[in-house]
Amino acid sequence: MNNKPIGWNGKTLMKMLEESEKYIKETKSYYGIDKLKLKEEDPFKYERAFASLRGALVSARETALHVAASPIVKEIGELCFALYTPEGDSIVVSTGILVHVHTMSEAVKFMVKQDYEQDPGINLGDIFLNNDPECGNVHTTDVQTLIPIFWKEELIGWAGGVTHQIDSGGITPGHDLVSAIQRFDDGTYYTCRKIGSNDKIWKDHMINARRSVRTPFYWELDEKCRLAGDLMIRDAVLEFIEREGIEYYKQFIREVIEEGRRIFQERVKERLIPGRYRAAAFFDIPMKEEAWQPRAKIDKISNQPLEIIIKNDGSMFLSFDGASGPGPNPMNCAKGAMEGGQWVLLTQVLIYGDKVNDGAYFAVDTDYPIGTWCNPGDSSLSYQSPWGNLIPAYTGMMKCLSYGLYSRGYREEIVPGYGFTGDAIQGGGIYSAGPLKGQRWSLSTFEISGQGLGASGVKDGLDWGYAMWNPEADLGDVETWELFQGGIPYLSRRVKPNTAGHGKYRGGANYEGVAMIANSKEVDFFGARDGYCFHGSGGMHGGYPHATGYRLYAKKTNLQEIIQNQKEYPLGDPDPSNGEFEKLLEGDIVRKKNCTIYPIILENNDMIYYALSGGPGYGDPLERKVESVKQDLNNGIYTNDLVYNIYGVVAEYNEEMGEWVIDKMGTDVRREEIRAERKDKSLTFDDYWEQERWKITEDMLSEPVKRMYSESLRLSTKWRKEFLEFWRLPEDFQLEVK
């Protein structure tokens, strides 16, 4: 037990946190800072100070990742580090998976509010571990290590590092567990636990941790990786203080956060327009057929309505009022996850290249309504894969900001959304033959880091290269993944036609892959992606949403026979209505429109298919340049039939030239035809309104749709009022779900 407070000037940490929160509330500025004194007095020193701290974090990350073992960390850098104030506000961050910078901040605040200062005590050399989404994390597979930094007797900050694990001991192998429906399925939980002292991780902790997960080797080395990075940061901070003095440091860390807050507001004023922005996004959670557990057998759609108010001072209010309820599925989001998602995107769209820290967080007011999927307030729920809701939900924010960017003329900055970072095929098995016989392999490919980005207002979206949670997304080398998931070798990887969202500028496109099970036993396999609903909020200004995912696999195949006879086997699924699997394979072929599936058991020679996501389009497809459509055809981005239907481009493949040739006149005629068809087949608003209203009043809505509305109408008075007003429904209107 500590008796002497460890905060500044004899205060406790709790007192410091209370004060900082009071200042923000009352003055709107961080710690009530009015003037950026250090910056004004000596701007060079100030900028040098920031650069030296940031440099220390980046180099801590670069060094630490060589300590790590797990390919997710080592190969594609799924880790990041940050430096926090004693109260837990981020001062400066490294590169990497930035979604976690604000989440760790909530973990520090949790420890402060729980008075860890008294019990279990916060001392020099202590090590804390956290992976609990209810107190500052996204999901249990993101594991954080935090250490306090002391100068003499005072706590002057925290160093934190986070890595993404391949496995955290949940109900099945994997990192985003589709079948987790309650906390007790999520895997091992460390709720801001002290796990070491004197800079050493306790032996009893490590014995326990190794026995709690399926990949103990990765877990242990990743713990050491995070601690190594934290210790490097601590050294760098102490050196900084030696050089600049403790008083400078104390003033500096507060000024720099206040500057971060101001930069955000300035950037908003530079790029957006004050006003009200709205977008709707959805995610399908089809568990009625899939779930094993009786109470999890329900089909749900998450309603993710977003409203953003840009105020006259450049600050922002962001609200998910109207969101539907949580459920017996892993996609519930704790508030920390929502804040992380918001933060990682704002730093990409608005405040990139500047002082990125929690200042941005303080410039945004939020409403994540309690009792909804985005803030259930119930720690017994599963939070194992909140990404399922978080990722589509924030496409709405990108779209809202894009309306503002458009109006200001910054069309090159527009991003109406991005692909879902699925198809996260997962699972694992045990080698039944070969040099690793008896050992476990894990399927945890992070190819998902390469999704399609939405189109901008001046060009097509990035193909196979974006992940919303990591601004430096990298899908890694396929050879590395094969090393670690040797029981499921790839048979192919190629461009998947028709994944990109249509538009004047098309969204990013993506590819597909086929793999087989080999030399293994006890193989679990599952995956998750949008299937029944388009991902997120769709296209912008006439652009279309990108294609949904679906599930395809084959069991009990004749693959061995095919291989022995050197016959053709499926390399993909370019045309799902005329599949190569069906044409070339014998066996039980399963195709499902829902892409999220519960684990299945696979055996040697079973085959799986997966496809990554495109991005949404921008603008009317009829305005797409014919030359660009030709390129799309030549590159296999779209097929000829769809190009004819949607872009009105008539083309024919010329065998001799080996490319598509456009029929210019035919295209002009076809485009006119489409315009005429638009006229013929469209309704006036009044007729459309009658028709849509009829679907509600005449009980034409499906069960998941009704469930979604009934939850939103129950959870928000405001949303209910607008819904009833729009459809002119009676005050006592109810939607019953049996």
Binding site: G275, Y277, Y406, E412, C533, G542, Y544, S577, L622, F685
Partner: protein
């Protein structure tokens, strides 16, 4: 201060810049006169005379007409008061069957009509596609953007709105 000439900006919004030309515009500091230059470009492009106050869409602009602020399409079609959702004046097609969805997406690769429908909002003047909405059936039409024009001009640009 960064500045781009009107010709470059015009080529940019027409999608004609090469990646080498566009990349520095994306990653560089923004040009503060962009708003005014884009409005000039847009004003030259349209065939009507009303003054553009705020561009809100590839084809739609809030313009000043007889002292009122209305939404107007490039083609001249007028959607009325900007405070009302312009989508309420659109012609609308709802794709809520598998057959209609599969005109644009391969089988298995679009929403399931029991879960979601795809709405297309057209300008009644030129039948340009102005917006799409992928929403569950019965979802209210979304009012995407309601700008605070006076605050924008007065407080952010430091001048009176036209």
């Amino acid at each position: 201060m960064v500045k781009y000439d009107k010709k470059t900006l015009k080529r940019m919004i027409d999608g004609d810049l090469t990646w080498e030309e566009l990349k520095p515009i994306i990653s560089g500091t923004k040009d503060p006169d962009r708003f005014d230059k884009i409005i000039e470009i847009l004003q030259e492009k349209v065939s009507w005379d009303e003054k553009i106050i705020l561009p809100i869409h590839e084809h739609l602009h809030i313009v000043s007409k007889d002292g009122k602020r209305i939404v107007k399409c490039d083609c001249g079609y007028e959607f009325g008061d900007y405070k009302e959702n312009w989508k309420k004046k659109c012609r609308i097609r709802v794709r809520d069957t598998a057959e209609e969805l599969e005109e644009f997406y391969p089988k298995y690769m679009s929403c399931d009509p029991d879960w979601e429908e795809l709405r297309e909002y057209f300008c009644p003047g030129c039948f340009t596609l102005l917006d799409t909405e992928a929403v569950p059936p019965g979802y209210p039409t979304i009012f995407n953007f309601l700008p605070d024009i006076d605050a924008f001009y007065k407080e952010w640009l430091g001048r009176k709105a036209p």
